[in-house]
Symmetry: C2
């Protein structure tokens, strides 16, 4: 982390220490919202404090009655400029909540609206442990530790420090499979994603950001527990699914979905977090950190798909090109 990040992080955690947190709202849009899904999962597993994930405009207009002076509201916008997220952060402040916000761009409306900005790095030449996910996990474990001493804290910070190398090793490990995925599915008009527990958010962001937004490929994220209560009826020999198996206690849900879908579809791509090289991460934290590795690895699947389709991930037809 650079000195700004250290200072911002410490200030945010210090503020939480003196704060009577009764509930936690994670609020953002799209890909930034998806990274909050594992954070909420960690809260569910580590503390009795209720926590929620809302897309920003739902949060603003629904305005949950629980939002108030004992709320901690954590928001994120890469550009610091997403109007809904800026508005949500401002609303939280107006209601007396403590706000912590993540952004890549710090001289931004989000920075103005929040109490505690935490900046993250971005780009291939920076340490992935200081990107959005790494910084979020530092805040998540920092907040947990501030609320009640959390014995996982020190190890979680060390694990965050090692993310860059863990990502590198595992992206390399899956490179051939990522390329095969891109080649095999370059003409697929639709690809479903499926996962549960800490990894559902990755299934969601792959579906809505990588496939729908960046590849114009139809998709939906299916929760592997919900699969058997509706969606599985669309399964057929030629319907592509990506199954993302997590290594936490909900793994049996992913196992069951995989067993069924591989029986009735010939087009299943599996990414199993149990295959990741995680030796730099303490074993009891694999449940939480594997999702970040999955996020890095699956991105290479999108890169390969984009390459084989000749449709760069940066292309948009509406976003950045018009008012909406």
């Amino acid at each position: 982390m650079n000195q700004n990040q250290v200072r911002e992080l410490n200030a945010a955690i210090e503020a939480v220490k003196g704060y009577p947190v009764e509930n936690v709202y994670f609020v953002a849009c799209g890909g930034s919202k998806a990274i909050f899904d594992p954070a909420q999962y960690i809260f569910d597993r580590e503390t009795t404090i209720p926590s929620f994930v809302y897309t920003a405009n739902e949060f603003v207009h629904r305005c949950p009655k629980g939002l108030g002076e004992k709320s901690l509201v954590i928001t994120c916008s890469h550009s610091g400029n997403t109007p809904e997220t800026v508005r949500a952060t401002a609303l939280a402040g107006e209601k007396g909540a403590l706000t912590i916000s993540f952004a890549f761009k710090t001289e931004s409306p989000l920075w103005e609206a929040t109490k505690h900005g935490v900046s993250y790095e971005w780009g291939p030449d920076t340490d992935a442990g200081n990107h959005n996910n790494g910084m979020l996990f530092r805040v998540v474990f920092g907040v947990l530790n501030a609320l009640q001493p959390c014995e996982k804290y020190e190890r979680a910070i060390k694990a965050s420090d090692s993310l860059h190398e863990v990502f590198r090793v595992n992206k390399e490990k899956f490179a051939a499979r990522a390329n095969a995925f891109g080649s095999t599915y370059k003409r697929a008009p639709l690809i479903y994603t499926m996962s549960s527990g800490p990894c559902y958010g990755v299934a969601y962001s792959f579906a809505i950001c990588l496939l729908q937004e960046m590849q114009w490929v139809h998709s939906a994220a299916i929760h592997s527990g919900e699969y058997f209560h509706g969606p599985f009826e669309v399964t057929d020999y030629d319907v592509p699914f990506m199954v993302l198996k997590n290594v936490g206690p909900t793994r049996p849900l992913d196992d069951r979905a995989e067993a069924f879908v591989t029986k009735y579809s010939k087009e299943v791509t599996l990414i199993d977090c149990a295959e990741f090289d995680m030796h730099l991460i303490p074993e009891d934290l694999h449940e939480y950190f594997a999702v970040l590795v999955l996020g890095a690895v699956i991105r290479t699947y999108a890169d390969a798909l984009a390459d084989h389709r000749g449709h760069p991930l940066s292309v948009r037809r509406y976003m950045w090109r018009m008012e909406y």
Copy 2:
């Protein structure tokens, strides 16, 4: 309501009165889970008590730390026989939580596992106000009133009593449009649904139960707030969308999504809750009860689609036909 229902409902509400409810978990699978979405929305709008919706197997395996002796866990299974929901109900009981469960079939494992069973009616010759949604709303407002006198309670119960007639009138009002939808989209391989706030659950259940499960048509429920942060890039002149506009405070999200999608797709079907004849429902409750009317109306769209496709809603290729 029949005498059993009255007795069951009263017993459940009485139990809540003496209970120190600190959080509420709504737990079920598929279509039964989807009906909990508006219930959680009502809790968010009416009380500061935190509430959550989980698919049953996620709930069981994640086992949120907040689940305990001060939890109210509300579950639902039509058959009373869904293994994940039965297990979730039993787990809640083991953790000391108060459990209330809805089912059509009362002599069932769910009935054994729960503390307070509330039965609902089903079928065309029964009063829709006593079906799953109607009974759920009676419990939701009953619980809210038990926790803290809720001035909407009496009117909400009266509104529930009138649902059958409200459904009838509005299904008739939309009959021609439902038929046109079925005819127009009988050859569509994919139809997206979109909504927000109290109606997002209807978009979800139409996508996963009516389209994917009962019609084998590809689909995804898109939150209208999330639409602009990824999914909108799949919009094209020939991509079908169903936009469900709610009449609560998140309506601007649906308005914005509708304005965009109708500009770039020629295949948009709109169901606007503001068009419903709601004169039997008090105006300040439209926000909540419109979603139930929407559920009844949109079902006729599925009926029409099934009819035009010659693919009855009752057909399955996996469910009920094999072990999984």
